[in-house]
Amino acid sequence: MQTKRRTKTPSLLLWGAAFCACIAAIPLVYLAIRIGGAGASEIFAILSRLRTWETVAISVGLAVVVVVACLAISYPTALFLTRTKMPLRRFWFTTVALPLAIPSYVAAYAWVALIPGMNGFWAAAMVLTAVSFPYVLLPLLVSLRSADVGLEQVARSLGKKPTAAFFATSFRQSVPAAAAGSLLVALYVLSDFGAVALLRVDAFTRVIYTSYRASFDRSNAAILAGMLVILAVILILLERRARGRSLRFRADKGVASIAIAKTPTLALSALSSLWFIAIAVISLGIPIVSLLIRLTEGARRPLDWSELTTAVVNTAWISATGAVIAVLLALPIAALASKFRSKSASAIESLSYSGLALPGVVIGLSLVFLSINTVPFLYQSFALLAFAYAVLFLPKSLGASRSALEAVPPALGQVAQTLGYNPLRAWLYTSGRISLPGIAAGGLLVMLTAMKELPATLMLRPTGFDTLATELWSRTELAAFGAAAPYAMALILLAAVPSFALSRGFLTSEKETMVNA
């Protein structure tokens, strides 16, 4: 009964999934309509403006600089962690993943709060590198750890020196993983709004936001958003290819021999420790210390507890609603994709991943246009913001639900059917029931991510509806750094939850590898 993928797709499921995917694609489609409505001459006018290409150059340049910096940090870090028994190795393993927990605008805020005059391209590049380098480091660690050192040993036995042997084998095996990570970083930088806005860099997202706020030039915002989406799509496609290659490079677990960490010399120990301390100070230490300074300073003024509580409740409530919508949209698509592989099924799945290519500022913009022009009563409504979260983070929920559903053997549903359950009930009582924890975890992940979302929230929130992110934002804009600190702290604590889970999962696999070796 292993031929599950060839059976005919039930049409009800197919239509349900198609419906959900279409709903998720509304922002993308509306953006396209809006750009098309602008007319060829207007598009041409905007494309021929020097300023447009300045924006492209700044965004792309920022992405390139940050990627290069992330690679420069990640390779030595990964080698220290996988190839040496450096001091406090396990501690650093956990610590290097933590910067992921700091939202970019919180990090930017912390730096600005410490050095009020700080701004510009290089400041943004530094802050974005500090928060995004784990995207390169983590896959690189996995790759270098699972790389078959047997090949390196073969290269040594064929007369290569250790460094040459490393570059000829393990390094080459790690390239696809590093490439996939780099593309994720580039996507992160292109989509980031908070850091570039706080540090006053005219990258795509900031320009789109300001021209939307200026409101006299909305076609400009739409066309720039379209260009940003195209860049993001290119990055996603490249990332998929790189990831596919990295899978092909993965050595067979049974025969791979894992690198044996060497005890480093005293000098190397000192050097590696200095390296890790420097990384930790820049990516974690300075932001946290700055926050604590502002917090104690703020504590001298009375904190408005009711305001903070309202923001926490609002944030939790709107994110939870968004997460529920995301899970509901994801379920039919995940059920379809986990069971059937047909052209229509994979088209539906790809369509629902559009959130990946839509930075928050683009989704915000598209939904603002849509609501003003077609459904004015939804403009700046709670429901529309929750929907924006659902579309933005649908891929997270979809991925979690899909892998949870795929883990359930299809024979279970068939057994339930032979025991008198119709297909829907059989699915609910077997696949649905068994994958519930995974689906719920996906929903929780959406909720925790949505709590940190800034640009779409700024553009779509109902008037007077404040979340942690918007409170932090408005206080920072007024340079009220002390008053912003409690909100920044609350955001870091919230964001730490998924990163903690991530790094713990990472550590567990590390333990297993050690036992096996």
């Binding site: 009964m1 024979a411 032979t418 008198g420 009582y429």
Partner: protein, 343 residues
Amino acid sequence: MSAISIRGLSAGYGGEAVISDISFDLSQQQLLAVLGPSGSGKSTLLKTIAGFLTPIAGSITLDRVMVSSTESPVPPERRNIGLVPQEGSLFPHLDVSANIGFGIKRDPRRKQRVNELLAIIDMAEYAHARPQELSGGQQQRVALARALAPKPKLILLDEPFTALDTSLRAQMREDIRSILTLTSTTAIMVTHDQEEALATADQLAILQNGKLIAFGTPHSLYNTPKSKEAAQLLGEINTIPAISETNQSVRTEFGVSAVTNSDQLTPRELGTLILRPEAFVIDINSNPNSTLIDSLFHGHDSLISVRMDSGLVIKLREPTHTSRIPGTRCAITVTRPGTFLRS
């Protein structure tokens, strides 16, 4: 009366037939083993009987009710056919009792029925164990009990022993056999293991390339095969050129032999005689007619290859004997009837 009757059945995926023109009847309370190499269409046949595939042609009649034809097939949940898949098919979130009771949720006597089945599979003390705590054999017994709970008209077993250790298999075969007998259940079991099929089944169906090439009792299919292919799928054979002499016997280089299918014999026909390795006897003291070339030790017996002086190579099986050394001259005689196939 037949429990299940299949007529001209063809089925497959996307209009492409994987099995074609299959017909057979199976009586109540019999166990049918469907034997075939991988890719022969065994699983497709099982899926079509269970109702997960709609046939391209033909029909399936269960207890005189047509359940599957090319139009309006009865869906799986209303066929009353039980299914025991390969392995790990217990619901992981339910304990043993809940697994067994899964299909009889609305039955007021559910608890009683579950206990009855727990006793039948001899696992009463595991009522509240989780599937993960059970051994592979125990899991398969629970899967069988779960399928039996709603008293199905037919049970389908999809390679139920493949996931088990070889040492466990023989015991499991006996267990499943006796549970099916005890509950008077008709069953169809799919397998690619000929030993398993011969030892377990009342009836045997051999599938090859989606066609039914033999159907009958294990005994008759083993001893009186209808074709060389069907004979080979049930074990080692020797094919010896032969000519029929009378209505009863054929002549080969071993002299005159009796045949198992004498009813089909007419004199003076060319063909081959199919002989199993156990149909020969080896004797090193008689007038030699052959040379021993190889001896494969299997413990309880050995498979011995000899080259006849005519050049023909014969494989024969005999209780392990110490003096079977390659190069020894020996005499080979046929002691049992074979099956004559016309060429």
